[in-house]
C-alpha cells in the first residue's frame, strides 16, 4: 500500500434498486426475512437462562479499577472520626475546571474548620488533581459514577461526600488506593527530623 493512500473496502455489495417496483420488492424482502426472529429468539433464550455473562445493571455493577475516578469522597480520620480536611484550599486552587468552592472559619478551639465544601459535578472533569494535591488524603475519588438529581444544585455538597460516622464505626471507610494515594514505598522516603529534648 502506498503511503498516504487509503484502502477502502466496500461492504455494501448489492447495487441499490432504481425502479419503484424493485424498491418495493426489497422492502418486502427485508421486512419478512426470518432472520429477525433468529435474533429475537437469542434474546429470549438468554433472558430465561441462568449463568450468563451479562451484567444485570443496575442490580449488578462491573467491578472498577482503583484508579477509576468518579464522584469524590471526603474521608475521616479512622481513630478520632474527625474530618481529615484541614481547609488548606489546595484542591480549590488546583481544580482546572474551577468547580470546587469552600468556606472556612475559626472554631471554638481555635482550629480552622471547613464549614462548606461543594464540587459542581456538572462542571467537574474528574481529572483527579484535587485528590492528588490533597496533603491529608482527605479528598479522594469514589466509584459512584451515576449522577442523577432533579437539580444541578445537588451536585454536590459536603454532607454527600463525607463518610457518615456510622459507616466509619462499622469500619466501612476504605482507604483509597487510586490516584493521589501515597505510594507503596512511601515509608522509604521519610526523613526523621532530629529532635532535642
Amino acid at each position: 500500500m502506498k503511503k498516504g493512500t487509503q484502502n477502502y473496502i466496500n461492504i455494501h455489495t448489492e447495487s441499490s434498486p432504481q425502479k419503484p417496483f424493485e424498491m418495493f420488492k426489497q422492502i418486502v424482502k427485508r421486512t419478512f426475512k426470518g432472520e429477525m426472529f433468529v435474533g429475537l429468539w437469542i434474546v429470549f433464550r438468554e433472558m430465561i437462562r441462568f449463568n450468563i455473562h451479562t451484567i444485570q445493571y443496575p442490580k449488578e455493577k462491573l467491578p472498577l479499577s482503583p484508579r477509576y475516578r468518579a464522584v469524590h469522597k471526603l474521608l475521616r480520620l479512622i481513630e478520632s472520626g474527625n474530618e481529615r480536611c484541614i481547609g488548606c484550599g489546595l484542591c480549590e486552587k488546583i481544580c482546572i475546571a474551577n468547580c470546587i468552592r469552600m468556606d472556612t472559619k475559626i472554631d471554638e478551639n481555635s482550629r480552622k474548620v471547613v464549614t462548606e465544601y461543594t464540587i459542581n459535578l456538572g462542571r467537574c472533569i474528574y481529572c483527579g488533581y484535587c485528590a492528588e494535591v490533597c496533603p491529608e488524603l482527605a479528598i479522594v475519588h469514589g466509584d459512584r459514577y451515576e449522577n442523577v438529581s432533579e437539580q444541578r444544585a445537588h451536585f454536590v455538597l459536603k454532607d454527600d461526600m463525607l463518610t457518615p460516622l456510622d459507616l466509619l464505626k462499622q469500619k466501612e471507610q476504605k482507604e483509597y488506593p487510586g490516584f493521589g494515594a501515597i505510594s507503596d514505598e512511601a515509608d522509604k522516603f521519610i526523613k526523621k527530623t532530629p529532635l532535642a529534648y
Partner: protein, 747 residues
C-alpha cells in the same frame, strides 16, 4: 554621586543610597526578609549579604553605602550556601502548619525556604513552650514568629506608639507588648509581618490568600487618601453568591495605614434599581433649589454637582468645604500660590515641625506617622501647639505649647513674629510685625515668652521646616485673617505649610465646586439630611458607598488618586440622576478628564491614572495637582481681641481610628462615642463617670454617656461626632470648641 558596579553592570548611587536600594532600583534581586523600605535597615535576617569582588567576606547590602568603583556580586555559590544556612536556621522547629496558616501563599519564610531549597531539618533545638497571645484585635502566635523585628520597628518608627519590644532571651526571645503603652490598633505590625505570626480576629482562617482578588483603590476615610487594596471574594461556597471584602492590604514596603483604613472596609451598601424611588428623586430635583453634601465624595461627583449648579442654578451647600475653600483662598492671596507647598514627604524629612490647631492623632494619622518618622529618624523637633495635651502622641512631641481656646489668631501672630525673617520684608509688613503687642498676645493666649524663645532656640541650625495647620484654625471665626497670616509663613519663611483637608475630599470639593453660603427652600441632601435625601445609609434613595464607586480623590498631598469598585452596586448613582435631568455622560469617570484645569487638575482620563509605588518608594499614584502662581496681596488685619472660653467646653474630635459614619458602622472597630473628659471637667460640670448627659450645640441637642479619662487634664472634653447618621452640615463645620451647659439626664 557614586559610580560602582553590580554583577559587572555600571550603576550610580545618590546620597543616602545603600547597595540594596541601588540594586532594587536597577532591577537586581537581592533576597531579604526583614528589610522594609519605609524604616531604617533592621539587619536582623542577614539574607541580603553580597560579595565585593576582590575582598574577603560578606557585607550587608541593606545598610552599606556603595564605595566608588567596587563590583558587587549579588549571587554566587558561596552566597547561596550562606543564605541557605540562614534559612535552615529559620526553619528549625518552625511548625508545619502552612496548610492552615493565613500567610501561606504570600509568606516570605515559605518562599525563601523553597528558593534556597531547604527540604528537611538537619539541626535540632529544644522546643520552648510557645503561647498564642491576644493583643486585642490582633493575635500573636509566638511559634510562627521568626523575630525579624519588623513589627517593632514600624510601631516605633512609623506609628509612634512604641507598643512592642523584643523580649530578649536567646532562643526564647519573643515579641512582647510594652506595658502601659497605648496601642492604637492600627494593624501595621500585622501588615508587615512576613510570616503568619500576627493575624487579626476578623480574618483568621476565613480564606486563603490566593483566592482573594485584589482591587487597587484609595482609602475613603480621610484626606490622606492612602493606597490600599480591597481584597474581595465570594461569600460561602455557592457559585452565584455575592462578594464581600475580606480584608484591606497595602504596599507595606512603602506606605502605612491607620486602623480605620485597614479594618473599616465593611461599609458597603446594597440595593436594587427601584424605579419609583428614582422617579421621586427626579421630581425632588425638579423642585429643589439646593444641594447639601459633604466631602466624602469623589472629584467626579463633585463635578457633577457643580455642572448641575451651572445648568440649573442649584445652590451648593457644604459648609465644611466652604470654610476650607475660603481659608485656602485667603491663604493663597498672601502666599502667592494657589495651594500650600508642603507634602507628607516634607514632613518625614523635616527636622523642625510645628503642628497647630489639630488633634493630630485622630485628625490625620498619616501626618502623625510622618511626624513620628521625622522625630525618630531625623531627631526632628516636633512642637505641638494645642489647648489639650494629647497623651497618644507624647512619644512624638518634643515640646507641647498649650494656648487658650479661641486665641488661635494671636498664636499665629506670635509664631509669625518669631520666625519671620525681618530683613527682606515689605515696609507695611514690617510695621505690622513691629506693632504686634507681644506682651498682650502672650498673656491672652497664655503662651509664656520663655516658651517661645525656647522654641526659637530649638530651630537654630535646623534646615527643613514644616508647619501643619489643623481644623481648629479653619473653623475659627477669624479664619480668614489667620489664613492670610499663614500665607506669609509660606511666602517669607523657610516653613513648608500643610493645611490638613478636614474630610476625605475637602480639597477636591473646594477646588471643583462653587459653594454657597445659604440654603434655599427645598434641599436635596447627598449623605447629609435634606428634604429629599440620597444616601448610602438611610436615605430616600439609596446610593453606592465610596468602596462601590470608581473615581478620584484629591489628597492632602495635592495628588489626584484613583479608587475602584470593590463591591458592585446594583442601584442608581448620582450620574444616573444627573443624566435623567439633563447632563449626558455614560459613566461617572467620564468626568475625570474634565476636572477644572485652571485649578491645577491635569487633562487625564480615569484610565490613564496609575495607582502604585515602585519598590524604592516613588509615588506613581495618579498625578500631582499643578500649584499655580497667583498674585500675592498682603492685606493682613490686626489681631482681634481674644474672647473668653471659660467654664465647660467641648471639643469636636473623633476617637482614634474613627472619622465618620462609614467607620462607625464597621464591626471591626471600637465605636463607642462617649463624651470624654478629665476629672476636673467632671467636677466643673457636676457629672460623674458613666452618667448620661445632654447638652446643645447650636440647635442640636446631643445626648452622650460621659466617661472620665484619667490621663486628660483641663476643662475641655472630647465630643466625637462620627456616630451621627447623615451628620448635618452644621456640626462638621462649626468652631471645634463650644461652650456648653451640660445637664445630667435622670434615668
Amino acid at each position: 554621586m557614586t559610580t560602582f558596579y553590580i554583577n559587572g553592570q555600571k550603576v550610580t548611587a545618590n546620597k543616602n543610597d545603600t547597595i540594596l536600594s541601588v540594586a532594587r532600583r536597577e532591577g537586581f534581586y537581592i533576597p531579604t526578609l526583614c528589610y522594609l523600605t519605609k524604616v531604617k535597615p533592621i539587619s536582623s535576617c542577614r539574607l541580603c549579604v553580597v560579595e565585593v569582588e576582590g575582598q574577603n567576606g560578606f557585607i550587608l547590602s541593606c545598610q552599606t553605602p556603595p564605595v566608588e568603583g567596587i563590583n558587587v556580586i549579588t549571587d554566587s555559590q558561596k552566597l547561596f550556601t550562606h543564605r541557605q544556612n540562614i534559612m535552615k536556621m529559620y526553619d528549625v522547629n518552625h511548625p508545619l502548619e502552612c496548610g492552615v496558616c493565613d500567610k501561606s501563599g504570600n509568606c516570605d519564610l515559605q518562599n525563601k525556604t523553597l528558593d534556597f531549597e531547604v527540604s528537611s531539618q538537619e539541626f535540632s533545638a529544644k522546643e520552648q513552650k510557645r503561647v498564642i497571645e491576644n493583643w486585642g484585635f490582633i493575635k500573636y502566635d509566638e511559634s510562627l514568629c521568626i523575630l525579624c523585628e519588623r513589627c517593632v520597628h514600624v510601631c516605633n518608627e512609623v506609628v509612634g506608639d512604641n507598643a512592642l519590644k523584643i523580649g530578649v532571651g536567646g532562643y526564647k526571645s519573643r515579641i512582647v507588648r510594652v506595658e502601659d503603652s497605648s496601642c492604637s490598633e492600627c494593624g501595621e505590625c500585622m501588615a508587615v509581618c512576613p510570616v503568619g505570626a500576627l493575624t487579626t480576629k476578623d480574618f483568621q482562617y476565613k480564606t486563603n490568600a490566593w483566592e482573594l482578588q485584589k482591587i487597587p483603590a484609595t482609602c475613603a476615610h480621610c484626606s490622606s487618601g492612602c493606597q490600599i487594596f480591597y481584597e474581595v471574594k465570594h461569600v460561602g461556597s455557592c457559585e452565584k453568591s455575592d462578594k464581600k471584602v475580606y480584608r484591606v492590604t497595602n504596599d507595606v514596603d512603602i506606605n502605612s495605614l491607620c486602623g480605620a483604613g485597614r479594618f473599616a472596609y465593611d461599609f458597603n451598601n446594597s440595593s436594587v434599581k427601584d424605579k419609583d424611588k428614582f422617579e421621586k428623586a427626579i421630581e425632588a430635583f425638579h423642585v429643589a433649589d439646593t444641594i447639601v453634601f459633604n466631602s466624602y465624595i469623589t472629584n467626579e461627583e463633585a463635578l457633577i454637582l457643580q455642572r448641575l449648579k451651572e445648568k440649573f442654578g442649584y445652590k451648593l451647600i457644604n459648609s465644611s468645604a466652604l470654610k476650607y475653600q475660603k481659608f485656602l483662598q485667603e491663604f493663597s492671596k498672601s502666599a502667592g500660590s494657589m495651594l500650600y507647598n508642603g507634602t507628607i514627604e516634607d514632613i518625614k524629612s523635616a527636622d523642625f515641625a510645628i503642628v497647630l490647631g489639630s488633634k493630630i492623632s485622630s485628625d490625620n494619622p498619616i501626618v502623625k506617622y510622618a511626624l513620628n518618622t521625622a522625630q525618630k529618624n531625623r531627631r526632628a523637633e516636633i512642637c505641638y501647639l494645642h489647648p489639650i495635651q494629647d497623651e497618644d502622641i507624647k512619644q512624638i512631641v518634643t515640646q507641647h505649647i498649650k494656648y487658650e481656646v479661641g486665641s488661635e489668631e494671636g498664636v499665629v501672630a506670635l509664631l509669625l513674629q518669631l520666625f519671620l525673617n525681618q530683613e527682606n520684608l515689605e515696609d507695611s509688613l514690617k510695621s505690622y510685625i513691629d506693632e504686634l503687642d507681644i506682651g498682650y498676645l502672650s498673656a491672652e493666649s497664655n503662651i509664656g515668652e520663655e516658651e517661645l524663645s525656647k522654641l526659637k532656640a530649638k530651630s537654630i541650625r535646623k534646615q527643613n521646616f514644616v508647619l501643619v495647620i489643623g481644623e481648629d484654625l479653619i473653623t475659627h471665626k477669624r479664619a480668614e485673617n489667620i489664613a492670610k497670616l499663614i500665607g506669609l509663613f509660606q511666602k517669607y519663611t523657610q516653613f513648608k505649610v500643610i493645611i490638613i483637608p478636614t474630610q476625605t475630599n475637602t480639597l477636591g470639593v473646594s477646588l471643583i465646586c462653587d459653594l454657597d453660603e445659604k440654603k434655599g427652600n427645598y434641599s436635596i441632601g447627598y449623605n447629609v439630611k435634606g428634604n429629599f435625601t440620597l444616601s448610602c445609609f438611610d436615605g430616600d434613595l439609596s446610593m453606592p458607598s465610596l468602596n462601590q464607586q470608581e473615581g478620584t480623590f484629591t489628597t492632602i498631598d495635592k495628588r489626584v488618586v484613583p479608587t475602584n469598585v470593590a463591591i458592585s452596586y446594583n442601584g442608581y448613582c448620582l450620574n444616573d440622576i444627573a443624566n435623567a435631568i439633563g447632563l449626558n455622560k455614560k459613566y461617572t469617570i467620564d468626568y475625570t478628564i474634565e476636572l477644572p484645569h485652571e485649578k491645577g487638575f491635569i487633562k487625564k482620563s480615569f484610565d490613564e491614572l496609575s495607582n502604585f509605588y515602585n519598590l524604592n518608594g516613588d509615588d506613581n499614584r495618579g498625578y500631582a495637582l499643578e500649584n499655580k502662581v497667583v498674585n500675592s496681596i498682603v492685606a493682613v488685619e490686626s489681631v482681634e481681641d481674644i474672647g473668653e472660653f471659660n467654664g465647660t467646653v467641648v471639643y469636636r474630635c473623633e476617637s482614634v481610628n474613627q472619622f465618620n459614619y462609614n467607620t462607625f458602622v464597621s464591626k471591626n472597630l471600637a465605636n463607642d462615642s462617649f463624651l470624654i473628659g478629665s476629672n476636673q471637667f467632671a467636677i466643673a460640670a457636676k457629672i460623674g463617670d458613666g452618667d448620661e448627659v445632654e447638652f446643645s450645640i447650636g440647635e442640636n441637642l446631643i445626648k452622650k454617656v460621659f466617661k472620665i479619662d484619667k490621663k486628660l487634664k483641663g476643662t475641655i472634653a472630647m465630643n466625637p461626632s462620627f456616630d451621627r447618621l447623615l451628620s448635618d452640615d452644621w456640626v462638621s463645620s462649626s468652631y471645634r470648641y463650644q461652650k456648653v451647659t451640660i445637664k445630667r439626664v435622670e434615668g
